[in-house]
């Protein structure tokens, strides 16, 4: 098992850092899966996470100038590592003006991801700051636990509103309630609602648009030309939604969600080189 990678481009580095920051906001611990072409950040829906799952996928070629990986075996040319993304996030913070960042899997006393940040110093010399991030190697037999979650049979698929507005609203609602109801229909309308003994607040978004596949067979309610106005709703933990929105530092190219009535809300956020899927189960 070997892994060695290097980022030299400042824009790639900053983009990569942003992705790691986003993941750090969503998961205390997660899986880093390395393949020849891609990197994945995975959080699977164990009870400890409150049932939420994360699947974040990026093509290594878009970020790394050098990328060499040898998996556990020839037929299974992949590496699965468990780690704390906040540690990687902090290491990358020191790399804001770096000349290069090298990441290497090492096993001196215990398995670690060694992040070596080469910082500009006096002309013709460099400083190197090294961070050793402890990782756990996930054995081959457990890899099935971390497969890509299947997209649920959803009732409604809709584009998200401007994230900045959605973020402000959800942040305020979080002060008022622990749970939020998210509902949407095939006419581009979405409502966010909270209700407690003391107060109820509903925010109405219109003209959001529904993705084209909303009318394919996948989407149950449209197949028989059902009511386009009918809302599909799910009540979810507001903190999970707030963490997802808070982690978005840059506006995604596409942001949408699929709602399976009373079961799960599936968020998809696409940036140019990275896709992030976040699944929040509905509260019974």
């Amino acid at each position: 098992m070997r892994f060695r990678a290097k980022i030299v481009d400042v824009a790639c580095l900053s983009h990569f850092s942003r992705i790691v920051n986003t993941v750090a906001k969503l998961a205390k611990t997660c899986i880093l899966r390395l393949t020849v072409c891609k990197l994945y950040f995975i959080l699977s829906d164990k009870v400890a996470n409150g049932g939420a799952s994360l699947w974040c996928e990026l093509s290594q070629g878009n970020f790394f100038d050098e990328f060499q990986m040898e998996g556990v075996a020839a037929e299974h040319n992949e590496i699965y590592l468990e780690f704390v993304p906040e540690n990687l996030s902090r290491a990358l913070k020191t790399a804001q003006s770096a000349k290069a960042v090298k990441i290497k899997l090492t096993n001196k006393h215990c398995p670690c991801l060694r992040v070596a940040v080469e910082l500009p110093s006096l002309p013709s010399s460099s400083r190197i700051v090294t961070h050793d991030i402890p990782v756990g190697v996930i054995p081959r037999r457990m890899w099935n636990d971390f497969r890509e979650p299947s997209v649920p049979d959803f009732d409604v698929s809709i584009y998200l509103p401007v994230l900045k507005t959605m973020k402000s609203v959800v942040e305020r609602m979080k002060n008022l309630s622990n749970f939020i109801v998210i509902e949407a229909n095939l006419s581009g309308e979405m409502n966010l609602k909270i209700e407690t003994d003391l107060v109820s607040v509903t925010t109405h978004f219109k003209d959001l648009g529904n993705p084209p596949w909303a009318s394919e067979d996948r989407c149950q309610s449209s197949a028989q030309g059902k009511d386009l106005e009918s809302m599909a709703e799910a009540c979810i933990d507001i903190k999970k939604l707030q963490q997802l929105l808070a982690g978005q530092q840059v506006n995604p190219t596409k942001a949408l969600c699929n709602i399976a009535r009373k079961r799960i809300v599936h968020f998809i956020l696409l940036h140019e080189e990275v896709s992030l899927q976040y699944f929040i189960p509905a509260i019974a």
Binding site: K164, T165, S168, V169, R172, L198, V199, S200, V201, K206
Partner: protein, 281 residues
């Protein structure tokens, strides 16, 4: 238009109904008195008064007069209810609290009367939020009985002169001592903290002093923890009037100019600290 879909039919009469193009005109003033969770709202034809009290010895009032609103109508002589100010502020600032130029949240407020919730309709950029906040029975409010005829000492200062002083008050001191006198030191703020005592003097001929009417030397102490929240009102204001009466009750009145240049007032009343009230320096 979403608003009209939610608004009551024209036949319905609301005890209080008001519209405001920029909800910040209300929220920023309410923040200046937000040192307790609950507040009492009183609406009359003149406008809205929101009162917050603590420890039975401090009271803050925010006044938003009817002219600030684009529409303000009160059906009975007055309408009064108690409401969670924290929740009200979260609702008024639902679209965020930063004031980006050119964007503002429009507000419509409706209250049917005793026992009904306060309804808020907020709109920004085509997005509409509807809030329903439960109200409570209003509690009796303190009456400081502070009228201009009983005022012993009064000064009016430009707020910028006091802002730094209040922001840097030594919070290890239990009290803030205020001395007002026709003679030196004229106006002095003192604290007695762990590191020692600090005195800040403002001479009567200072540029910051807009009016100086002190008839009698008075030194009064007030619990600093009760007065500290007034810093928020001071930060928003352009002028402040400081008055005391014969018993040492303190009135701080802040003149606040909103984004559109309209004037609103916030006042704080505070009882002197029971243990010490001296009539000498």
């Amino acid at each position: 238009m979403p608003f009209s879909a939610q608004l009551p039919a024209s036949g319905e009469r609301y005890a209080l109904s008001a519209s405001l193009d920029n909800a910040r005109h209300l929220s920023s003033l309410l923040r200046a008195v937000h040192f307790q969770d609950y507040a009492t709202c009183l609406a009359t034809a003149s406008g809205l008064r929101v009162t917050v009290e603590d420890a039975k010895c401090i009271q803050a009032n925010a006044f938003i007069q009817a002219e600030i609103f684009q529409e303000f109508s009160v059906q009975e002589e007055s309408v009064m209810f108690r409401i969670s100010l924290s929740v009200l502020l979260d609702c008024l600032t639902i679209f965020g609290s930063s004031s980006l130029p050119g964007t503002s949240t429009a507000l419509r407020m409706c209250y049917r009367g005793y026992g009904y919730p306060l309804m808020l309709f907020l709109e920004e950029g085509g997005v509409v939020t509807v809030c329903k906040i439960n109200t409570q029975e209003p509690e009796e409010l303190l009456d400081f009985d502070f009228c201009s005829t009983k005022v012993v000492n009064k000064i009016i200062l430009q707020s910028e002169g006091l802002r730094e002083a209040f922001a840097e008050l030594d919070m290890t001191s239990e009290v803030l001592q205020i001395t007002m006198s026709p003679d030196k030191p004229y106006f002095r703020l003192s604290t007695f903290g762990n590191a020692g005592s600090a005195h800040l003097d403002y001479p009567r001929d200072s540029d910051l002093m807009e009016a100086f009417h002190c008839n009698q030397t008075q030194t009064n102490r007030y619990k600093i923890s009760l007065l500290k929240p007034s810093t928020k009102a001071l930060a928003l204001s352009c002028k402040v009037s400081i008055r005391t009466d014969a018993q040492g009750f303190l009135s701080l009145q802040y003149m606040i100019r909103n984004e559109d240049g309209q004037i609103c007032f916030v006042e704080y009343y505070c009882c002197p600290d029971e243990d010490i009230t001296e009539a000498e320096l």
